[in-house]
Symmetry: C2
Subunit: 323 residues, 2 copies
């Protein structure tokens, strides 16, 4: 079986893992540990635990437990002291408090969720993402980058503070994978942080794995404003230290009212400017949009979560060259 | 195997279940669902869930899962939004939100904790304990009775508001048990509420089971101030509708400094005034004190939790006539 490792965190990684899970693949996830917003950020600050949110998403994506367990781990409290907290996040936080080490946390969570494949945090160190913009401004904390929505300057450099040692099991997994699938996900808050951990770049450079980059559908304020496809690829290369081997772009149509909603938030379709350029990688263009989400929504209740890659369509594209 | 059912909630029930668990007994717990204080009370009020605290204690007591799971379910958060909340309580509350019904909650929790024997909530209705004192005062809510520490009047009557329908599985269990073990536990906040649910008194009256009452070590302000052993037995009979068959009293010595600490809180040793009276029940007197707890403590850091029945000593007494 081919060893496929999905790298990231957040919804994009959830979608890829969910799609690939049903195929005969040796599947794993390597997860960013720099999330500092929302329920995760509060637990991290208040309880001094590792950020549970991205891990929880990957564990649930790989879960083969009954539906009830997946629902439980995604359940978000709507009232009282626990408002806004996600049960899965609370579970991982409490488990960290009573466990010998974080590997015991992962084993226990994987056991109860019956995950197909392992989930590797990229580091067990507590660290923060920092980015320097071309205008000289520096922002510290993943959530602050996420919320820096009025920034139009480009990110010149990203780093971790303090520096972080890698999880050796994640390093071994990178070195022994056949495919490393990166994205979809916000370039600087969900993807790049993984490659900033000490030793990860070197592991990727020395890995025989093919690198597959699934580019986001839309730009993201504060990190990829006005970015075209080539900008995404070039920025990623800077942190990877090598080219991607396969680049996957959506060419499915996104309804105008959704594009308009995004434009109102200063976010735009990631334009494909790759056709005329010299390419070091193979380009795959396909309709990858999850159109089922559109049916349930109306223009007056649009949110960012309406636009997603479709896990099945993505898996179809990926398994064509993986299997 | 003898069918033994422990009735109550709280630490006393935890101690009895923990002691009996290792013996070849068909063991179950019937649990009061009127707790309204602390973490349980807040979850109950804020999330409109059934009170999880007593259930969680019984589930953990019966658990044969690895130590880590028991530690997790008893873990209490010490900081931040979750401060004071117990993980097991949060687990049961979230599970109730995503489950079909409360039986699914119990099945799932029993599965993950690998409980030996079933735990039956006495009711699935949301209801409150109310007590009327002889001085005319009425207090509503288990936590308010618990906190009514300056009250010296006796409780004239206890009832539920609103009235509550019984869990039929609990009724069946009562009717088919060989032994019903009541207590130890605070008479009005941990024990009596079970018998106030519609139909429970009748089930107990018609049950062939022997009733075993384990009397508390100390009196409790607001509910059993100045109560002697006979007062406990008489009050219980009022709500049971029949005599106990076996009464178990401690005759082990409690250190003076602990008695003094309790006296400072208007609580006293439950005096044995049973010797001279006509008895309808068998009396067992034994040293039942958990003395291991004394060693770790000092007079300046005493708390109520220092004084407990010993689970092994209790199990030794109980199994003598059960097995």
């Amino acid at each position: 079986m081919k060893k496929v490792t999905v790298i990231g965190g957040g919804t994009g990684t959830f979608v890829v893992l969910s799609g690939l899970k049903v195929h005969p693949i040796d599947l794993a996830a390597i997860v960013t540990m720099m999330d500092s917003g929302g329920s995760t950020g509060r637990l991290r600050d208040q309880l001094k635990v590792l950020p549970p949110g991205d891990l929880r998403q990957c564990l649930v994506a790989l879960s083969e437990a009954p539906e009830l367990w997946r629902k439980l781990f995604l359940y978000r409290f709507e009232h009282g002291d626990l408002i806004g907290h996600n049960f899965g996040n609370i579970f991982l936080s409490a488990l960290e408090k009573v466990s010998r080490d974080y590997n015991e946390v992962l084993e226990t969570a994987s056991f109860v969720l019956k995950t197909k494949g392992e989930v590797f945090p990229i580091t067990f160190d507590k660290t923060h993402l920092c980015v320097e913009y071309e205008n000289g401004k520096t922002v510290r904390g993943e959530n602050n980058v996420e919320e820096n929505i009025h920034e139009t300057s480009r990110i010149k450099n990203a780093y971790l503070d303090p520096r972080a040692k890698p999880n050796q099991n994640a390093i071994e997994r990178i070195k022994s994978s056949d495919f490393l699938i990166i994205g979809p996900g916000d370039l600087y808050t969900s993807i790049t942080p993984v490659f900033l951990v000490d030793g990860v770049r070197e592991a990727i450079q020395s890995s025989p794995a093919k690198i597959v980059y699934i580019v986001n559908l839309m730009t993201k304020t504060g990190q990829t404003t006005n970015y075209k496809a080539s900008d995404h690829i070039n920025d990623l290369k800077k942190y990877l230290g090598r080219d991607s081997d396969i680049v996957i772009l959506n060419d499915g149509k996104i309804p105008n009212e959704i594009l308009q909603w995004y434009r109102g938030h200063n976010e735009n379709l990631v334009e494909n400017d790759l056709l005329e350029r010299k390419k070091n990688w193979e380009l795959i263009e396909k309709d990858l949009i999850d159109t089922r989400r559109f049916e349930k929504n109306h223009a007056d209740t649009l949110t960012r979560s309406i636009l997603r890659h479709d896990s099945e369509k993505l898996a179809n594209v990926l398994t064509k060259f993986i299997l």
